[in-house]
Amino acid sequence: MKKFINHVDQVLHESLSGLQAAHADILTVHFDPTFVRRTAPRPGKVALISGGGTGHEPLHAGFVGKGMLDAACTGQVFTSPTPDQMLAAAESVHTGAGVLFIVKNYAGDSMNFQMASEMLDIENAIVMVNDDVAVQNSTHTTGRRGVAGTLVVEKIVGAAAETGLDLAQCKAVGDRVNRATASMGVAFTSCTVPAAGRATFDIDDDEMEFGVGIHGEPGRRREPVRPAQAIVDELLDCILTDLNPAPGANVLLHVNGFGATPLMELYLLHHCAGKTLAARGVNVVRSLVGNYTTALDMAGASLTVTLMDPELLQLWDAPVRTASLNWS
């Protein structure tokens, strides 16, 4: 394992210190317990708090700021943060309108945020994001994972909160975006967790993991690499089967890199996806291409599609000013 680190135990602290130094105009990092907060939360606004294991940067800390999150709780690499972090973050950023937790649906995140929600003395609610269609739902399982669609939920709920919607309304928007969002990805290589010091999984030089999770968890199956268009077509098949868009539906297309895949390939995927969506009568009205929900240094990418309506479009377009998502 070759990484830019001094000591494995210091990675998170030093990395967050760098984040703080580079974006002092936007965010403040709090240690013990650890969370990243918007430097100037807006009074009277519902406080949005997300978080999760680190290793997915810029998600979530890179999305703290005006128009998006008020705080992000950062766990160890790929390990959910703990309730004390969530409680401290909530105390720190809430301004009287309640707290909305945005949580990726993994056992760890879900249980830790659930405990924080129970322990917190402030009115609060949880939006559970479960956009990954790779693993089919069934009544007996934990359900689908929350992956790159989380960014879309955070952006849109962030904009909704800025317009002054109350806690219940913000939660309703979040749940609605989540239902309108589906994602699926594929990995070419494993990632390497710094503390583990070796690749999470082994994969052959001509294989890909189809339906991979953002921690390098296995997906639907291991299979030989195929041309980009064939990969895109199957990903979109799964996504559109889930979303079942009406003919002429408007969508946001988010091509997300897992870390080690060059932007050149991500744009190529966007091109392939655009062709297929057009052929299936779906209009791409907004796009986001880049490494946003990563899995450390994993090579691969996911596609996310969100069905957009005029309200969601307006919220997506609303100004945002964070370390990693910025427009006006």
Binding site: G108, Q114, M115, S138, H140, G216, E217, P218
Partner: protein, 209 residues
């Protein structure tokens, strides 16, 4: 079972977990995200740090402090589960200065129940519960039957190992391994393994001293 026993158990578990690093680590890499060993080690380290300050507390208070500390330290899926176990044991033992084996068994059962309800899981879902539930049942039964501590420890170790091994043939329906579907078959659940290691460590401590 007094606070001293608890502190010695903590130390024994830490040693044993560290000794099983390669197995535990490999299991979570195979069907999880590879961090289970690190999470559990972090929990052990913080318990060891905490240990001196627990001297002189009642078992309930000591277990409560452990539970709260683990809750804010481990994270992941195992964090809330393991800490719920300690917090619930603490609640059950409230008021007992030196709980007897029957009280301890009841507390263990309450701890395992807390994991079940926090994780919304039960036997056969390929989780740590496949180690813990059979052991909990055994403790109650053998205590009722008046078994000796030595017999009880031997049986508990066997039961833990058997429960852990049984996860190998299961499809997971909880935790990260459930994303694997059929592909998880053939792999032991990492949480069931670390619990088995912990139970062996405590049982060995109880018999060999």
């Amino acid at each position: 079972m007094n606070t001293q026993d608890i502190l010695q158990s903590i130390a024994a578990v830490q040693v044993s977990i560290l000794r099983h690093e390669p197995d535990i680590e490999a299991l979570d890499r195979a069907i999880g995200d590879g961090d289970h060993f690190i999470n559990v080690r972090r929990g052990c380290e913080v318990m060891a740090e905490l240990s001196p300050s627990l001297q002189g507390l009642t078992p309930a208070d000591a277990l409560n402090r452990i539970g709260m500390k683990l809750l804010s330290t481990i994270g992941g899926a195992s964090g809330p589960l393991i800490s719920s176990f300690f917090l619930s044991m603490a609640a059950t033992l409230k008021g007992a200065a030196e709980p007897d084996r029957r009280q301890f068994a009841a507390a263990f059962v309450a701890g395992v129940d807390a994991i079940k309800s926090r994780g919304k899981a039960d036997l056969g879902e390929k989780t740590m519960l496949d180690t813990l539930i059979p052991v909990a049942r055994l403790l109650v039964r053998l205590n009722e039957e008046g078994a000796s501590l030595a017999d009880l420890c031997v049986a508990a170790k066997q039961e833990a190992t058997q429960g852990m091994l049984a996860t190998r043939d299961m499809v997971a329906t909880k935790g990260r391994a459930h994303f694997l579907g059929e592909r998880a078959i053939g792999h032991i659940d990492p949480g069931s393994k670390s619990c088995e290691v912990a139970i062996h460590a405590v049982c060995d401590l109880m018999t060999h001293r």
